[in-house]
Each structure stands twice: as C-alpha cells, then as structure tokens.
Symmetry: C2
Subunit: 458 residues, 2 copies
C-alpha cells in the first residue's frame, strides 16, 4: 500500500525586517517565516513525479524553531499512514493528530502546538489533493455535503451549529455549485491589498503605492494604524486623496488598544469612512470586540488572524462581535477546522474575508475563498480576500491576481495541491540559521537575533 515514508520540517526565514515590509503598530520588525513540513511518500503523482505533501504555518521570526520542533513530533506520527486511507478519511487523520492528550495540554488547541498542527495538516491536505491530481479547492468543492461535514471538527460547537444544520447549509448550495465555479473561473475571487500601507513606509512611498494599487485595479486598500493618531490622520488623508471616495479604505490596528481607547481612536478616524477597523484590541477579547462594534458602527469590526480556534470564532459570532471573519490558514487546524468556521459564519451571516500576506498565506486562502463561495456561503457580498505582493517567488505554484474588468481578483489555481510547495533553492538559501543567506548575514549584526541571543541555541 502507498504510504508516508518520511517527514522533513524546515525553519525558513525571510529577512523582511530589513525593508519594513509587514511593519505595524504591534509588530515592528518581523522576519516573515515558515515552519515548512514535507510529507514524503513511496508513491508518485499523476504525472509520475515522486509524490509529497507540502504545508506550512506562518510566523514572524524568532521562535519559528519552536514551531518546527512541535511539527516534527506531530508529523512523525504520520509515518506509515496509508495514502488510500487518508484520501477517504481526512477526518480520521485530524482526530489521530489531535488525540494525543499529553500534547493537547500545551494548548489546548492554541499557540505553538496548534500552529504546528496547522502546518502538518496543511501538508496532509496538499498531499491528498496532489495525489488526486486536483487543486485543493477542486477536491473540496467536489465533496458531497456528507463528506465535507465528516472532515469538519464540530466539537464544542453544537450549541451554535448542529451537524444537521451544517448538512442543511451545504445541501442548499449543492445544485448551484457549478454556476458559481463558472463565475469564479471568469472573474476570479475579489482581492484587496495591504502592500501600500505598512507603518514602516514614509508618506511618499505610501502615496506612490496607493497610486499603484489604484492603477492595478484594486477597489479596496488597507492601512496600518495605531502607533500615533496624528500620523494616522495624515496617512488616511493621503490614502483617501489618492483612492477617492468610491474605493474602500480599511484600517488595521494590530491589537494595540484597550477597548475604550479603540473606540476613541476609531471615532477620530471616522471621517475617512473606513469599511472596517481590524484587530482593534487583544484577539482573545470577544466581549471587547462586541463593545467596540456597538460603539463605532457603521464602521465594521474585523478580526481573526490571531483567533486561535473554532470555539473562539463561535463566540465572536454568538456575541455579534464582528462584521468580517478573517480566519487564518496557518492558525486554524487546516481544512478540518476551517470548514467548521465557514459553516458557523454562514449560519450567522458573517462574511469571511480570509487573512493573508505573510509567507504562503495568499497561496492558501485562494482555495478557502473558492470553497466558501462555491459550497458554503454561496455569497460574494462584502467578501474580499487579502493579497500582499511579496515572497510569492519562493513557491512553485504562486498565486496570481489580475484585473478582469470588475476589480483585482485571485485567479483560480490550476495546479494540483494547496499551492504550498516551495522551491528547494529557496528553502536551502533561507533555512535558519545555516542557509546561505543567514550564514552570510550572521557575520554582520543580524536583525533576526536582535532581541533574543538564544534564537539559534536550541
């Protein structure tokens, strides 16, 4: 029987802190990184090439090695798994990986062991889709409602969503899936850009990048805010001046405020009519988000990139705390948990606008957005998926956005898998700390080890 024969997990870090890419009020100097899992097999894909599954989770530098260490423990348990069994029972793979009560203690279902679980399960889903010769969105939208519900983790959700309700939601979309797929094949899935608005960019660069985004056809643009109110007012003015009144402006505070402060600050920016305020306070503060939402309406509240599991999303919906659900493909435990969140969002009528950027997140979210529209929500209203234009060159099947006339959109991926396979050359060069880039960079004062002398000491 074909099976998983070995696993490798690599600590890959890109020196994004050198350019200010990704800088925001909470995270000033991230080095975008991936804990990158490869599941090797004794089999070949549909084209005869040795078959492997590739998955990752995203971190911003130091500590990526800790996630790698956890992923090694989890992924190693998959050695010997039968690929045929995986193909028909990814719910079983999920339950097997989450059944270790000793590892569970370290979360449960949060933090390092959940990030690493996401990487391992992302690789598993990539493997299954590659073996089937389908892009992951296709594998998932080909599933019946019963099959999708069988892979979803609905534990702890039954007070908000029963299994029967989940099936009902999916069955209601079943007959018209083909129409929506044909539509996405024509138009792509709507995208917005954060590339313009990092806090580390000066006004001239902000102005130039906003103009480039407009020229590229973006109807939505996002700015980072929250470090200094005067700066925010000036930057929002510049952005509005360039993008005009028609296009949407979003703002993102990356968790820097307490609840009362968030309300005051957002009200001070209300005249720029942001579509949403993203991460206005601590990501665990469900009731805080609900209070902010009540106070700043009609400005929407968005969060999710640090929302660590489906139980937290359930409560964000129950408390009517958010207008936009920004689930993260590196933080939730892959498709099994994401399907549960998509179903909850559909039940509560909250649009899903996945978080992306980072490394590899854009590659993954395009599959999720398609799944949501085609099989779960059946709706594009207020849906737009984040796109950040960097680090795609490290992937063998990079995501693609283009303007088909109705605004910039993700083009449907065509290659088999989850689009998460990196070029071996990129992994070799940026492996921390021994890849060629870091071995050389380390000879000079290395930004990545600035705050933690022991980063490489494990």
């Amino acid at each position: 029987m074909p099976q998983i024969t070995a696993v490798t997990v690599e600590d890959v870090r890109f020196p994004t802190s050198l350019t200010g890419d990704g800088s925001d009020a909470m995270n000033k100097d991230g080095d975008y990184s991936a804990a990158y899992v490869v599941l090797h097999t004794d089999s070949s894909d549909t084209t005869g090439v040795p078959l492997a599954g590739h998955g990752l989770t995203f971190t911003i530098g130091r500590g990526n090695d800790i996630v790698v260490a956890a992923a090694v423990q989890q992924a190693t348990r998959l050695i010997g798994w039968d690929l045929d069994e995986m193909a028909i029972d990814m719910g079983g793979v999920y339950r097997f990986l989450t059944s270790d009560s000793q590892l569970r203690w370290l979360g449960p279902e949060k933090g390092v062991v959940h990030l690493s679980l996401a990487a391992v399960l992302n690789a598993s889903w990539d493997l299954v889709a590659r073996r089937a010769g389908k892009p992951l969105w296709k594998l998932l939208t080909d599933m019946t409602p019963e099959q999708l519900v069988a892979v979803a983790d609905l534990r702890y959700l039954s007070d908000a969503l029963t299994r029967d309700e989940a099936l009902e939601i999916l069955r209601a979309k079943e007959a018209t899936k083909g129409d929506r797929l044909a539509e996405l094949a024509r138009t792509g899935y709507p995208a917005y850009t954060t590339s313009a608005g990092w806090l580390g960019y000066d006004d001239d660069k902000l102005r130039r990048l906003c103009q480039e985004a407009v020229d590229a056809g973006y109807g939505y643009i996002k700015l980072k805010v929250g470090a200094d109110l005067d700066d925010d007012i000036r930057r929002c003015s510049i952005a509005r001046e360039i993008i005009g009144d028609e296009r949407k402006l979003m703002i993102d505070a990356n968790q820097v405020w307490d609840v009362g402060q968030a309300i005051d600050w957002v009200r001070a920016l209300a005249r720029f009519e942001p579509l949403w305020i993203e991460e206005p306070t601590g990501p665990d503060d469900i009731l805080g988000h609900a209070a902010i939402r009540r106070a700043v309406a009609p400005i929407g509240v968005a969060t999710g990139e640090h929302c660590h599991n489906r139980v937290m999303f359930k409560q964000l919906f129950q408390a009517e705390a958010i207008d936009f659900c920004q689930l993260d493909t590196g933080r939730l435990a892959s498709i099994n948990e994401i399907v549960a969140v998509l179903l909850l969002a559909a039940k509560f009528g909250v649009p899903v606008c996945p978080h992306a950027g980072g490394v590899g997140l854009c590659e993954m979210v395009q599959h999720i957005a398609v799944l949501d529209y085609v099989a779960v929500s059946g709706d594009l209203t207020d849906r737009v998926t984040e796109f950040v234009d960097h680090l795609h060159e490290h992937f063998t099947d990079p995501c693609l956005v283009s303007d088909s006339g109705s605004g910039t959109a993700y083009v449907l991926p065509r290659e088999p898998g989850y689009s998460t396979r990196m070029w071996p050359e990129s992994v070799d060069r940026y492996r921390f700390p021994d890849g060629n880039y870091w071995a050389t960079a380390a000879a000079t004062p290395a930004l990545t080890s600035g705050g933690a002398p022991a980063a490489a000491a494990l």
Copy 2:
C-alpha cells in the same frame, strides 16, 4: 553589581501514568512533568549559600521538551540582569520578557510561549524573594498597593478594571493585613483534596481514599466525572455515602462535554448536590460556561486551569460565567498576571480557588492564596485551595497541610522563595530522556512515548 549569570532549563518527567494518578476523562495517561528553570547568579542568599531562582510550569509529558525549548529562549534574555533592579522593578522584568514581538506571534499570550514565560517568571519571583530572605507570600503582602499595581499587567483590562479601581481595592485592605496574616498563621489556608477521585481508580480504592480524606480532616472532596454517566452516578453515591451530607463534594469533567451535553449530565448528577462542576466544556468557551451556569444553578461552575490569560478571565467575570476562579500558576504569566486576575476577581466578587496538583502547583498556590486573602479579597468565604498529595518529596521546601481543628489547611510557608526548588537528585533521576529513571525505563515499552515516536527526537 550582582546579576544573573547563567540559566538552565530541564525537562523533568515523573511516570505517573503507571499508577493512574491524575487520570481523568480527557487526560487518561499523563506523566506529570515540569519545565524547570534555574536562574543562576554571582551572588549568595541571606545565609551565604549561592543564590539562584527556581521556577517551573507543569505539563503532562510529551511536549515538555517544546516548552523547555521556548523557556531557554526567554530565560537566556535575562542573563546580565541586575538583581537590585529586578528587586525594585519586576514589572520591568515582565515587560522586557513580553516585549519580543516575534515570539509574541506564537501566542499571543497563550500556549507554549506563555507556559514557558510562566516558568521563567516564576523563577524570577523565586529569585527576588530568596534574595530578600522572604517567602514569596511575605514579599508580596509587604508591598504597598502602588507597588503591587506596578507589577500587575493591566493591559486590555481597563474596560473592566482601571488602575485607580485596582489601587482602591488594595488600599481598602491595607490597614487590616496584619489581622488576616495572624489568622492564617493560626489556622492555615483551607484546602480540599482531589487525591481520592481520579478516574483510573477502582471503587474500592475510591472508597478507601474518601475515608482517608475524611479521617484527615478534609471538608471538601473532588471527583473526576465525564467518561460514563452510570459510573459517575455509582462513584458519586460511594463518595456521598462516605463523606456524608455535611462535607462538600465537587465534580470535574475536564472539558469533555459540549454545552448541551454538560447541562444534561450535570442535571443527572444534581441529586448528589455538588458544590461545583469544574471544566464542563472547552476552556475557551466563555459564553458556553455562562449558558451552563444559568442552566445548572444552584450548582456552581468552576474553571481556570486552562484559562490562558487575564483577558479570558476578564470575560469569564464580565459574562457572569463562573462561580469559582481556578487560576493556574503554571499557565498565567506568574505574579504579574495573577495579581491582575486576583484584582478582577475581587472587583467582580468571584472567589479564587486556585488549581493545584500536578508537579509543584501546590507549592506555588499556597503563596497565591495567602496574597489573595491578606491583600486583595480580604475574604475566605467559599475559598478553598486544591491539594493533591503526590510528588512533594521532590521539592526542598514542600508544602504542608494539617488539620488545626477547623478542617485541613495549607500551613504558611516559612522558607524564602516560591517553594519551587527541586532536589538536584530528583532532577537528575527524572530528567527526560537521559535521567537514570528514563534511561532504564526506556529499555522496556515506555508509556511516555506510546503516542509519539518522536518525543525524544528533537
């Protein structure tokens, strides 16, 4: 200037899965473990012995090495810290350790990096107390309200508790601290036992241990439930038969139920009149706990051992979700975060009954309970702190319970520090995987590696 010169972090695991100690409906085979941090200095304590700080967090086996890896990174940053500066600014130590935005991404404030932070900060507080020649409870109760608030992390809490309110709470207790200390010196702090009720014990052992608990003077006894309702009814009957109607019975489900199931199950056990149902559902489910509490009253709802930070506790209080706050000294980021939770609990009028058991948790919670009564809540009503009678022999200053006539109680610790120093011989013997115990045990099928072949492969 006296300073921290080196750190060691050890992976210490005890083979508790061999005896069923610690077995519950979620965690069937835990090997109680400690990620054990020692901060070495170039100084001596008040008796001339080389001075070091000792701290730990508690896990249940596999993955303890991951916590150790994270603790190494965090603790190493403390090398070179001036001990005089630490003594007057533990708030600064906390902010320094939590200021690394790259490591923060791996939580934030949850999971492995928060467990490891707890261990490092616990060692820091032990160090400061030892240097002062005081038990930690004494160091803390000697602080002024301003000093206590200065070490507390109040971020994200201001919608529930302002700094001024925190000061008010503490100032109101200031004049009478001495009275309450004198009372505790006489009576000790009330304790309850979980030693009798692990799921892995058979009925005869349950019966015998309940009788022993009664004979030892316990007025509160806790049973694990949630695996099988018929078993639970039989076990609760046995316990009630032995302990009578006067003594309190608590039950603990360790997160196994969905919300609706929890309500049904607890109602089926209502005739045994439990004081509380502990961890009825997933620990992140604030609104779920609130729903259960409304449905099972007057049975109380208790949770906290997996409540990962102060923001979650804030919401448990805001949502009126719990009757008892079971904060955990290995999961919250030590005194800095615990003081914030004690203040919140006092403001909302919820009694704090710290979670203990495990390894070293009993040693720590006795200090917290004293702090709460003497300086924060000023109240013993409905307060009782968990005690489990195992693994204390591995500590140089083990906690002590005794019956002074009004029920079994923790005796006030007298030795300097946080009571978290382990015997070097214990660390050597149980260090995983190379300590003498494990090196020998590994020659036979080792329970600790049953589920994860890679546990030792990092």
